[in-house]
């Protein structure tokens, strides 16, 4: 256990250091542009998995949390010219509060009803922003990036390192939750909510906790969007595509292990970027759909589940221990 923990932290630090080194190297700018999106999906998929994978509550409103994070950053930047770190913190805070509020209202609903409620929230919030002139309404808002910090050459390179840091942080939090009593409680809820409650698990509190943490993480990812694009508009910020991708990536990678969403996001995110450049941006939505159906039918435990099964087959004696 401690050995795997050490390994994890070495890996985590290595990822951040590597990202920083690449960012100050002479690599092509497009790499950072695409890499940012992939890492942003690592954050979203990991966040989704805390509620959807561990507790089994399918959130279809990732777009809502992402969009709220983005628009919180916009308001702070426009009103106070707040620095990036403040935008991220505020995005996390507001989206976390949103998660808490939605949880309070909807987590008593089970199964499909919770999912429908989260879709509704995304639509309501998008409509609100469309009618909010201060942040540009339906046409969106153009934002001027502040000067980039040393030692980065461009703002996108800096954002790439920031999102790598956030991704590592998100995965660390998810891993902590998964391996602690919190994760065991969430899994108990997924397996049988009534039995969980009768074994002393405060199901509502735990679901609220998961929904808040998950929402806050999605908000941090969203908070980076305004500076990344220098432009924000509601339709793409609250897009259903985020909701679908954040759900599909853990499903494909595997929902029972923190590595699942990471693998799913890197795989699917990279395929999407490649398809967008080489074929068309419409087709990448189709790719998500086809892969999702394929995995749900053929490998419901995802890539991580498949790998574990293979490992068991190869070492049948070790499986018994």
């Amino acid at each position: 256990m401690t050995r795997s923990a050490t390994g994890f932290w070495i890996g985590a630090v290595a990822v951040v250091v590597l990202a920083a080194l690449v960012a100050v190297s002479g690599a092509n700018e497009y790499f950072f542009f695409a890499g940012f999106v992939v890492l942003q999906f690592v954050v979203l998929a990991t966040a989704w998995n805390i509620l959807g994978g561990y507790a089994g509550y399918v959130n279809f409103g990732t777009g809502a949390f992402f969009g709220v994070g983005a628009y919180t950053a916009v308001v702070l930047f426009k009103a106070l010219s707040a620095p990036l770190w403040a935008q991220i913190l505020a995005g996390a805070g507001v989206s976390g509060l949103l998660g808490f509020g939605i949880g309070l209202l909807t987590l008593r609903l089970r199964g499909i009803f919770f999912s429908i409620a989260t879709v509704a929230v995304a639509i309501i919030l998008e409509t609100l922003v469309i009618n909010w002139r201060y942040v540009g309404g339906a046409t969106g808002i153009q934002l001027l990036r502040p000067p980039v910090m040393w030692p980065f050459e461009t703002y996108t390179r800096m954002l790439f390192v920031v999102v790598a840091l956030l991704a590592v942080l998100a995965v660390s939090i998810a891993r902590y939750i998964e391996t602690s009593w919190l994760g065991r409680g969430l899994r108990a809820i997924r397996d049988s909510e009534e039995a969980a409650e009768c074994t002393g698990v405060p199901t509502l509190k735990l679901k609220l906790f998961a929904c808040t943490v998950s929402g806050a993480m999605m908000g941090t990812a969203g908070a980076l969007l305004p500076m990344y694009q220098s432009f924000v508009e509601p339709a793409s910020s609250f897009s259903l595509n985020y909701s679908v991708a954040a759900l599909a990536m853990p499903m494909i990678g595997g929902t029972s292990h923190w590595l699942g969403p990471v693998v799913g996001a890197i795989l699917l995110g990279t395929i999407q970027q490649v398809v967008t450049v080489t074929i068309s941006s419409e087709l990448n939505v189709l790719v998500v759909g086809v892969l999702l159906v394929l995995f749900v039918v053929a490998a419901p435990e995802g890539i991580v589940g498949l790998a574990r099964k293979l490992a068991r087959v190869r070492a049948p004696t070790a499986g018994a221990a």
């Binding site: 009593w181 065991r184 409680g185 899994r187 108990a188 997924r190 397996d191 049988s192 009534e194 039995a195 969980a196 409650e197 009768c198 074994t199 002393g200 698990v201 405060p202 199901t203 509502l204 029972s256 018994a320 221990a321």
Partner: protein, 242 residues
Amino acid sequence: MSETLLRVDGVSKRFGGFTALTGVSVAIRRGERFGLIGPNGSGKTTLINCISGSLWNDTGAIEFEGREISRLPAYKRTRLGIARSFQIPRPFKSMSVVENLIVPLEYVMHRGSLHTADTRGEALEILRRIGLADKAETRADRLTQVELRKLELARAMAARPRLLISDEAMAGLSASEIDEIVAILRSLNEAGITIIMIEHIMHAVMRFSQRVMCLDAGKIICEGTPAQVVADPEVQRAYLGT
């Protein structure tokens, strides 16, 4: 020994137009083995759902160790010392057997001392007593029926209850398996745990219980020693329909 552990006082429960329980009152003494019988649909499971907190009673009061608990959520009642097993086993199926027990150990007993407590060791000890130790690392969805029933009891035990409610832990089991479960419940009772047994298997319930109550259509029709209850004409009518 005659101290009251659980007092149910005038409890009623309706589901829409259907009345599942009407003014049920009963007092369970500390250390007692109490049998609850009644035909299908007579309200046995509704009553224990109201006691364990899975449902809230509409009227009446439920007191545990002198404290009114009928508006507490189920998890708090478990922490106070009421544990139950489910009629249809509800294991945490994605976890191993031992992990199933670690959940209540972490959430009931060791909430303040997670770092120092040996929850795994304690879980294994309970499994040994119930006779499931050799399945500790098996995933719960790979267990047989009798193993699942034992897991239900073991998981309830891990919450360190003072009152254990066993909801038809023997339905569908063979004679020797029934004897096994009765022996387990008896040894738990000898260790000081009050037990309410809900059962259809009459000979088991009659052999096990010191006192039996019979429900029919949501009302108590008889309460007394096993011999008294079996001889009661109301009980015979409820079961045989004559």
